[in-house]
């Protein structure tokens, strides 16, 4: 495929260059003062080309919409995503007709009014009425879109519900870590100076809220139909947590906490059936340039029933169990990512803290 395309491109280039030189030779023979004056024939030809290319372009645009119809926007798997998709459709229904109307006029005028020596252009310099029309109509249309857009935005960005499940998404070059707030639904304090060994999130284990926090790597599980309130952190450069199926994106900025909340509505299982793709997985990807492996900074998201989710979360060790906290618990069951030494010095290391509460 590649070899073939390279050959095609190179051949095209060579042919093109040959033609270019040929044309140049020919035009050189004709050289006179007027050799490059635009002739009536040129005007006719170029006018016709505008029409030809214009129709080709509009056909191409229609073809593209048709071709990407099913590929372009994945089914929205969050509650607010359905609203923004609606807003997107409305916006498209405004701009697509505008695109076609203006392009058809442009192409038609260019084609119809090519220069003919016997004609004279119409002297038409100004019309208050026309100008008012195309100031007022866009204003009305845009005002509608603005009001619709802002009200959608305000709904999405309104504070999360009290009982929303709190999850921290922690970014660093080049991976993601999730932290569930546990029974108390409150994340323990953390600070970048506390990052040491297994405590990759720099959680302050002297904080009572930190003990029941649970950490997830590689896969992030979410219960379906339950609002999740995300707190985003980064420890090094700016990252961006992008979850296209949930119509969710928020930057992760070192030195501050950002947040976003949404309610997933379709489980991974359902989605696999709907898309006819047994391999389907929701993804979290990094969408702010962050370094050499930016293109592969990802995490799988699994949406499942609340029951399955609780089962999965119960299988996870708490931070207290992983790191050793105020109440160091005995490892109840062996766990894949629990081969970590307990760190009691994390509890005494808090004097140099620069902590913040999300």
């Amino acid at each position: 495929m590649t070899g073939f395309l390279t050959i095609v491109v190179v051949t095209l280039g060579v042919i093109l260059l040959g033609k270019v030189l040929k044309i140049f030779e020919l035009s050189g023979e004709l050289r006179g003062a007027d050799a490059n004056a635009v002739t009536t024939k040129d005007n006719r030809t170029q006018g016709a080309l505008v029409m030809l290319f214009g129709l080709g372009f509009l056909a191409f645009v229609i073809h593209q919409f048709y071709k990407f119809k099913d590929m372009m926007l994945p089914v929205s798997a969050s509650e607010h995503g359905v609203q923004t998709d609606m807003l997107l459709s409305v916006s498209f229904w405004v701009i697509i007709p505008m695109f076609f109307i203006t392009h058809i006029l442009l192409i038609y005028f260019a084609y119809k009014y090519y220069y003919r020596p016997e004609r004279k252009a119409t002297f038409f310099a100004h019309s208050t009425k026309l100008e008012l029309i195309w100031t007022v109509v866009p204003t009305v249309v845009l005002t509608t879109l603005i009001v619709y857009g802002i009200s959608t935005w305000n709904k999405i960005m309104a504070p999360a519900a009290e009982d929303a499940m709190v999850v921290e998404l922690y970014a660093k070059q080049f991976d993601w870590t999730g932290r569930y707030a546990g029974e108390d639904n409150k994340l323990g304090r953390s600070g970048y100076r506390l990052i040491e060994g297994a405590n990759v999130l720099g959680v302050d284990m002297t904080d009572g809220h930190a003990q029941d926090d649970k950490v997830a790597r590689g896969e992030l599980h979410l219960p379906v139909n339950k609002e999740v309130s995300f707190k985003f952190h980064s420890r090094d450069v700016i990252h961006s947590a992008y979850m296209p199926h949930f119509r969710t994106q928020m930057n992760c900025v070192p030195g501050m906490t950002t947040q976003f909340h949404f309610k997933p509505t379709i489980t991974t299982e359902q989605m696999r059936k709907e898309t006819n793709n047994p391999e389907f997985d929701y993804i979290l990807l990094c969408n702010k340039i962050c370094g050499s492996a930016h293109y592969n900074m990802q995490m799988t998201i699994i949406v499942e029933s609340e029951e399955d989710f609780n089962k999965w979360l119960e299988g996870k060790k708490t931070l207290a169990q992983e790191l050793g906290g105020a109440d160091v618990a005995v490892d109840a069951q062996p766990h894949a990512d629990a081969a970590i030494d307990a760190h009691d010095d994390a509890t005494t290391d808090s004097d140099s803290l620069d902590v913040q509460h999300p």
Binding site: R31, Y115, G255, G291
Partner: protein, 591 residues
């Protein structure tokens, strides 16, 4: 440069030496040519960089021995290194945005057209004008040199957000490469300010008799407002760059806080990278219009002249330039909807951003009405101007989607954005620049460019522009992020592999098409047909100057302006144009 000038020393003032005529010239026409040639060279560099990373994007992981030949250790076995990929993307953006479409576009046409179209013998300060070019040249040279640094050129994206751009631990390009980027950008800002002040002062003070503001050609209006935008916004970028230099070199914490990198906790606390983003985009958004307005001004002039019709709604055109310029200062936040800004601010920026569509719509409809019932002469310049109207519509409309904060959440930083800005400001501005070059080449070099090569250049270019950028809208809607070295880490994006290959094929065709232009340009400087004084039968004053350049522009007195610039096809005249210096006939009313 053009040797044919050597034989002619019409100018009344004094004999110039080689250096003061060709190198350290203070003549605005020569400086304009210097800007243009430098911009063309930088444009070739920027385009080649994009062709290289398009090879990787079209055929990820494929070996292209040519890449190893060019890039050496950055493309082992012909496969582009991910860090170098980011560097190519970064320098491509920087060069095209600043060196080509800001310095190149404004530098060329403000210098050429402002004095000639307003009837001035030169810029207000020839010396400052010369400095402006040489700072631009130095800036371009430093940026080019940064490509050869051991640790690679700057690679944090053209917006160079800290902490990525501040910490060499984060990416190798943030070492010496980034230092050179900042040096180059500082020199560029100096150049831009020196040029901009000169343009403003010249337009305000040096207009010839009769040239009231309402008689200025739209090119001059556009270039004037562009200069004002630059003078107001570039200093803010300078402060952003300065603080970044402090953070990088002096240990300050303007943009850095609570960073743990390379196994080490840094001492910096209290700063915010978001501050940088605000400062950057306070320039960055007006910058879009610094790029676009001159192209729109050129288009107004070229479309009107070649439709043999007055530009429709002259005052509305000026009004919309002013409105766009004003709005451009209060929309920068739409680049930052997902930075965690206060949602109320998001609403405000959505509101102001979508308002930009109103003056833009006015411009489009006025262009269309100018073409309506015209008598259109299809010069290559006309075609590029019409192409601009098309790309301005296509790219402008998707701005209505991106400017809407609720929609931006999902498509921010995806290929949808890449499609949008490449079409609306990349392609439009470069089309405007090409239209200007084809249109004013006779004025610059006293010769004509070959029209057939021009036609071929246009058709291949617009085909490849849409072939490259239109499909990207759909990639973006599918959720493919920009600045990804490859999409192969996500099975979800496998459906788009072929599309990416096709895009790269179009990109290569587009690059090859520019060879036609470059050949035509340099060949015509020496061998083109001799131009007549007013080859396009245009009304504006620059065509009243002799074909051979002279210092001071007009051999005798500067012509007086008697009418506006758009008296084309007046029903009461036989000839279809009336130059601005032709006096009104008794009983004739000025427009």
């Amino acid at each position: 440069m053009a040797e044919h000038h050597d034989n002619h020393h019409h100018h009344p003032h004094h004999e110039e030496g080689f250096l003061s005529k060709w190198v350290f010239s203070q003549d605005h026409k020569m400086i304009s040519k210097q800007f243009l040639v430098t911009a063309i060279i930088m444009g070739v560099v920027g385009m080649l960089l994009s062709t290289m990373f398009r090879l990787q994007l079209g055929w990820p992981g494929q070996s292209f021995p040519i890449l190893e030949t060019i890039l050496g250790k950055w493309a082992p076995d012909g496969v582009l290194d991910p860090n170098m990929y980011l560097a190519l993307v970064t320098i491509h953006g920087t060069i095209i945005v600043f060196m080509v479409l800001t310095g190149g576009l404004s530098g060329t046409f403000a210098n050429l057209l402002i004095p000639l179209q307003i009837g001035a013998r030169d810029m207000a300060s020839g010396f400052i004008n010369m400095l402006s070019y040489w700072f631009f040249f130095l800036s371009s040279a430093v940026m080019f040199a940064s490509l050869f640094v051991e640790t690679g050129p700057a690679s944090g994206g053209w917006t160079v957000y800290p902490p990525l751009s501040a910490l060499p631990q984060a990416i190798p390009g943030s070492g010496l490469g980034m230092t050179l980027w900042l040096v180059s950008m500082s020199l560029f800002i100096v150049s831009s300010l020196l040029g901009g002040l000169n343009y403003i002062v010249t337009v305000i003070n040096l207009r010839t008799k009769g040239m009231s503001m309402w008689r200025l050609p739209l090119t001059v209006w556009a270039l004037l407002i562009t200069a004002v935008l630059g003078v107001l916004s570039f200093p803010v970028l300078f402060s952003a760059a300065l603080l970044l230099i402090f953070d990088r070199s002096l240990g300050t914490s303007f943009y850095l806080s609570e960073i743990h990198i390379g196994g080490q906790a840094l001492e910096n606390v209290g700063g915010s990278p978001i501050l940088y983003e605000h400062l950057f985009w306070f320039l960055g958004h007006p910058e879009v219009y610094i790029i676009l307005l001159p192209a729109l001004g050129i288009t107004s002039e070229v479309i009107s002249t070649n439709s043999r019709k007055p530009i429709f709604g002259y005052k509305a055109m000026v009004g919309s330039i002013l409105a766009i310029a004003f709005l451009s200062f209060i929309v920068w936040g739409h680049h930052m909807f997902v930075t965690g800004m206060n949602p109320f601010l998001g609403s405000v920026f959505t509101f102001t951003t979508l308002l930009v569509a109103i003056p833009s719509a006015v411009k489009v409809f006025n262009y269309l009405t100018t073409l309506w019932k015209g008598n259109i002469v299809f010069t290559p310049g006309t075609l590029f101007a019409i192409g601009l109207v098309s790309t301005f519509i296509t790219g402008g409309l998707t701005g209505i989607i991106l400017g809407d904060s609720a929609l931006d959440i999902n498509i921010h930083d995806t290929y949808f954005v890449v499609a949008h800005f490449h079409i609306v400001m990349g392609a439009s501005a470069i089309f405007g620049m090409f239209a200007g070059v084809y249109h004013w080449f006779p004025k610059m070099y006293g010769r004509m460019m070959n029209k057939n090569l021009g036609y071929m250049h246009f058709w291949l270019t617009i085909t490849s522009v849409y072939g490259v950028f239109f499909p990207m809208h759909f990639l973006g809607l599918a959720g493919i992020p920009r600045r990804y070295y490859s999409n192969t880490a996500f099975p979800l994006f496998d459906d788009f592999i072929d599309v990416n290959s096709m895009i790269s094929v179009f990109a290569i065709i587009g690059a090859v098409a520019q060879v036609i232009f470059i050949f035509n340009f340099f060949y015509s400087i020496y061998k083109g047909n001799k131009a007549t004084q007013n080859p396009w039968k245009s009304n504006t004053l620059e065509w009243t100057t002799p074909v051979e350049h002279i210092h001071g522009n007009w051999p005798g007195a500067i012509p007086e302006v008697q009418r506006w610039a758009y008296d084309y096809s007046r029903p009461d005249k036989d000839q279809d144009f009336v130059p601005q210096d032709v006096p009104l006939e008794p009983g004739e009313e000025a427009h």
